[in-house]
Point group: C2
């Protein structure tokens, strides 16, 4: 067992950033090679993606509290993509942003330990890759324990999939249990349990939950079921949800929920024209203000 | 939309290999740096892991139909680990083994598309990384569709998590639905549906299922619920299950189930002494014979 490292809990670092920036915005970094600005094409896909993400980080850093790089788009580029992912995570942390690695990992305990080390624990010669990681609950408590250990020892955070933003989420997550509740509400109970001894000084836990902003009623119910969880809410923008529907998510405090947007910020210049960085920055600022206003803080 | 490539369906390639080798053995490649043979330490962790896995591939190729590299252990080594993962996959395919990438991916459709491309579709200048991929069902049908497209167009396969081998699998997978069945049985129904138009010439589908050999009753029930699915059965060996319990899994044919073992083969020389490759080969041969016998074919 490693010695505990003196570190600030993830939720407390997050709450500090939310208060300082007056923002609950998380910008998803989903670099799609075919959508990169023309000037970044032809550098090698991974290098172009890294340069794009660094430009977005620079543009959104004043307006967002975190970025959420999506591992899949980097993995699709092989080892160079992995290096680009590491580069982008390091660059974002240096820019004062929290990094939520969106990888949705979940495996049996001994394997989950390797994932926890990969994403959430100090690497040889440097800090951890990310501050927090999205995880899948399907394998149950022992598959989450290694991540909880990272939270406890290294001040990391996790966001567990509860009710996702996509239409197909109904197939499994909405199945009716014997007591009539949909499955996702029982997963929410598990998330609450997993996080209850990892609550920071501001009353929020290191164990958060992913709930699709595309399901506003579920967001309000999730808030009640997991009062100490930070809710990570994707689905605003390209997927159709609007910040105005999300007020109930913020009753646990200004950092009680984060709104994640990707395409509407990353590719803003495709709508507005002009410099892609400036367009992304302006859209991030606009969304952050809209969310802050909807949060009621 | 890409044109369909003339290729043999995954389940048909698998059935051919099973019949030719008289084996349903899959060797999991879980390279743990701290367990590597002394001679492979100090090369740089990723290089040592790659050399270890290549040695295991050589040793088990006559006895196993597939290897199952576990992505987590490679991801924990950063970009060098990704390169080692690619190297090991290519090496195993060149040795005539099928490759089942154990990465348990699952995300919304546009992201799942990137994962499908990363693991199951031809890369620029070379073939696909793997023949099949483990996937998580929690996000539902639209999260699986991109992988089904890889099956249809590129002859890939997937193994969907249904009832996993770990104790914590009960937390979510055994939740009682309104009709009294455990959740995993409904997931099994979904897997059957997802695979029903991807059935190969031998009657087995490209959409298989992961069911823990540690739950022999569930294995027998899963066989009935998904008669055309290839069942991937982990849990034999270090996790305590025995091949003798698994006979019912094989009623759909000799390739209807695969038994996945990792630690008992990889680290066999820690029990038996002697050369690590020879020990792994002997343990693989022994396990393959035991499984073949239990299968009744």
């Amino acid at each position: 067992m490693e010695a505990a490292v003196a570190t600030v809990a993830f939720a407390d670092r997050l709450a500090e950033a939310v208060a300082r920036k007056r923002s609950q915005l998380v910008v998803g970094l989903d670099p799609r090679v075919e959508l990169l600005p023309v000037e970044l094409r032809g550098d090698g896909d991974a290098d172009g993606c890294a340069r794009f993400c660094r430009g977005i980080v620079d543009a959104v850093a004043p307006h967002a509290v975190a970025v959420k790089p999506q591992s899949a788009f980097f993995e699709a580029l092989g080892a160079d993509g992995t290096r680009a992912f590491e580069d982008v995570c390091d660059y974002a942390r240096a820019a004062g942003l929290l990094v939520i690695a969106d990888a949705k990992r979940g495996d049996i305990g001994s394997t989950a330990r390797a994932y926890a080390a990969a994403f959430l624990e100090p690497r040889s010669g440097s800090g951890s890759l990310a501050d927090a990681l999205t995880v899948s609950p399907y394998l149950g408590r022992d598959s989450v324990d290694p991540f909880l250990q990272s939270c406890r020892l290294h001040g990391a955070g996790i966001f567990c999939l509860v009710k996702t933003s996509n239409p197909g989420s109904a197939d499994v997550q909405d199945l009716a249990l014997s007591d009539g509740r949909p499955l996702w509400q029982q997963v929410a109970e598990l998330v609450r349990e997993w996080g209850e001894d990892l609550v920071g000084e501001n009353g929020l836990s290191a164990v958060g939950a992913v709930v699709g902003a595309t399901h506003p009623r579920a967001v309000a119910q999730a808030r009640k079921l997991m009062p100490q969880a930070v809710l990570l809410l994707p689905g605003v923008g390209a997927q159709g949800a609007t910040p105005a529907d999300l007020g109930p998510a913020f009753t646990s405090g200004p950092a009680g929920a984060l709104v994640a947007v990707s395409r509407s910020v990353l590719y803003a210049s495709r709508e507005t024209g002009g410099d892609w960085r400036a367009a992304a920055g302006a859209e991030a600022a606009r969304t952050a203000r809209e969310v802050w206003s909807a949060s009621g803080w």
